[in-house]
């Protein structure tokens, strides 16, 4: 068990949806880890890029705050 604080986490419905989101934001190469096929860990700044890219396309993920 490891505690990672201040990281960005994305959990998608499917691996394909996650890949698409990362591709849209051009963040595929910036993923810190894929903990599961549908779960990616990124730096916080990169996660904001994903959110912004999705919103630009009219997609609104659930942003946990």
């Amino acid at each position: 068990m490891k505690f990672h604080l201040h990281v960005g986490v994305i959990e998608a419905e499917s691996e394909q949806a996650l890949n698409e989101a990362l591709t849209i934001a051009r963040c595929e190469a910036r993923v810190l880890a894929r903990l599961a096929p549908n779960v990616a860990v990124l730096e916080r700044g990169d996660t904001q890029l994903v959110i912004a890219a999705l919103r630009e396309l009219g997609l609104h993920p659930k942003v946990m705050q």
Partner: protein, 575 residues
């Protein structure tokens, strides 16, 4: 003025709606905070336009009401700077969740004790040249400091509350001047033979400071008028009538709220009623974008604000229930359907932009390893792969709930190097100390060779450098290593990443001479320059293919014989 407390424009309830409007403007605009700590002018204009009785910008008094409410919000911790923008905090939700009386008491106390509110700077008739609004008081001014202001507010409030029935503000000023002339500014030295001025205080537009003799009503009187007309009236201590410039202490309660909402098929939510409840409207503002239209309070149901609310923990069911409970008529079908659909679609992708991630390693069962109380306190939710995530908690709270001897890897800082080069292309990276950044770096440039062992790989490095750029890749590798790679391996890594273009080793045709003067003369010979590929250094030239024979022939024509070996002693002989 009887019954004025229940009037839409008077009493605490009306004042609180102005406070709500300013807070809603913060939600709507998320204004950029300038160097002076205040939001930009566009925000002030927008927030001012939403007030019940906006300040007139053309009068040059600024936006005293917006600044007043904004300062109270900051004093209560309801707003905070997030990066370079002003944002609402969780404390705002807690504030508006309280009953009306509790909210009123907190706002009143915040005003009476406010240290960051410079009242004199907000008085429309006065001007404090060289003094920042809402800032600390300069030592060269007679305007009271934070402590003196707090005492002055309470002193005037005592006088106000002691008044029975309707009282003109002018009469209150006379009474305060008679009984407590130095309630804000010391006047003990005013009676001397010399002329004394209010230092640093002018009438608006005036060129000179106000003289103390005869100036009390223009300074302290103006301040008292401001206190009565804005803080005391809007925070519900008095009912103030601007037409008569008179007030009456308020004793009646604000009464129960009476209002309803109309949810339109175009996703507009209109609020109708005489006595609105700021607490309920705040709940609306947290999932529907506030969009005031004149005096009409209007909220727009939009996907972004709705999904943001879901991310803060609200449920679609609770939102629909609130809308239904406030509306007399059933919600339009298309609105209900859309809200449910937005909720379902947002569940397809959840993003924690600043998270605590608890990673389950191997066969770890986090539900068994982490006590239920800790999971609940940290707000941990199970995600794919058996891991858990939560919004990043306060470090102290996290430390309370993390089992002893468990390291917390904080990615807001530089993490310790976790990869050790083995003297060749092999890397040692123990899994127990490997953080995600180091793991990512390893996966970018190396292949796993065993549980803790990796091998640098040219193909992977090349692909990673293409995606990230060679400089960024090298930075990451160097940051993750406990010690530098050996020179040859560092050279290899940088060559694989494309940082260095491929080098050449092999036979080539060169021209060498030992005298600078000889070299200079040769460079000016066009036939020689025609065979020159590039100059390698002083007296050293790389020739194009066939150049050696051509140059030799050229110089032989001049009677110059070339040597056939590269190294010479000082006399030009083969060593």
């Amino acid at each position: 003025m009887k019954g004025a407390a229940t009037d839409q424009g008077r009493g605490y309830r009306a004042g609180e709606l102005d406070f709500l409007s300013v807070a809603e403007a913060v939600i709507e605009r998320q204004p950029r905070v300038l160097k002076n700590g205040l939001p930009n002018l566009a925000f002030f204009r927008a927030a001012n336009a939403n007030l019940a009785q906006p300040d007139d910008e053309a009068q040059g008094h600024g936006f005293a009401q917006v600044e007043f409410w904004l300062t109270l919000a900051r004093e209560l911790g309801l707003t905070a700077t997030d990066g370079d923008r002003l944002a609402i905090t969780d404390a705002a939700d807690e504030f508006f969740a309280q009953p009306l009386a509790a909210r009123r008491d907190r706002l009143r106390e915040a005003f009476l004790g406010a240290r960051s509110l410079n009242d004199f700077a907000l008085v429309g008739d006065l001007e404090l040249p060289g003094l920042r609004k809402s800032g600390t008081v300069d030592t060269t001014t007679d305007a009271p400091g934070p402590e003196a202001l707090a005492a002055a507010r309470r002193r005037v409030l005592e006088f106000v509350l002691a008044c029975a029935g309707e009282t003109r503000v002018a009469r209150l000023c006379q009474q305060v001047q008679r009984e407590a002339p130095s309630f804000a500014i010391d006047h003990s030295d005013d009676g001397s033979w010399r002329r004394v001025f209010y230092r640093g205080i002018r009438e608006r537009g005036g060129r000179e400071e106000i003289e103390r003799d005869g100036g009390w009503d223009r300074v302290e009187g103006a301040y008292i008028r401001w206190l009565v007309s804005l803080p005391f009236a809007r925070l519900g201590w008095v009912d103030y009538d601007p037409a008569r410039d008179a007030f009456e202490p308020l004793t009646t309660e604000d009464g129960d709220p009476i209002f309803e909402i109309v949810v339109q098929p175009n996703f507009e939510v209109l609020v109708l009623g005489d006595r609105l409840d700021a607490g309920t409207l705040w709940r609306l503002a947290r999932f529907a974008r506030p969009a005031m239209q004149g005096r009409v309070r209007r909220y727009m149901l939009e996907k972004k604000s709705f999904t943001d609310a879901l991310g803060r923990g609200l449920s679609a069911g609770a939102i629909l229930e609130l809308l239904s409970s406030l509306s007399r008529r059933p919600l339009p079908q298309n609105v209900r359907f859309s809200l449910e659909e937005w909720s379902a679609s947002s569940e397809r992708m959840k993003i924690w932009p600043d998270a605590l991630l608890v990673e389950a390693e191997g066969v770890d069962d986090l539900a068994a390893l982490l006590p239920e109380a800790a999971r609940r306190a940290l707000g941990l939710a199970r995600i794919g792969g058996g891991h858990m995530a939560a919004v990043a908690p306060d470090a102290a709270l996290l430390r309370q709930h993390v089992p002893p001897r468990r390291a917390i890897l904080d990615y807001s800082r530089r993490l310790p190097p976790a990869i050790t080069p083995q003297g060749d292309l092999r890397l040692h990276a123990p899994a127990e100390s490997l953080h995600l950044r180091a793991r990512q770096t390893l996966e970018l440039v190396a292949r796993r060779q065993g549980a803790d062992h990796w091998l640098l790989d040219p193909a992977l490095t090349r692909a990673a450098a293409t995606a990230l750029g060679p400089d960024e890749l090298r930075r990451r590798v160097e940051e993750a290593l406990t010690r530098p790679l050996e020179q040859a391996h560092a050279l290899a890594l940088r060559a694989w990443s494309g940082e260095f273009a491929p080098a050449f080793a092999g036979s080539a045709e060169v021209f060498l001479c030992d005298s600078d003067e000889q070299a200079m003369l040769l460079e000016q010979v066009p036939e020689f320059a025609a065979w020159l590929d590039r100059k390698l250094g002083r007296g050293a030239y790389l020739l194009r293919h066939g150049g050696a024979a051509a140059v030799r022939k050229l110089l032989a024509g001049c009677g110059v014989t070339l040597r056939d070996h590269t190294r010479t002693d000082s006399q030009g002989r083969r060593p």
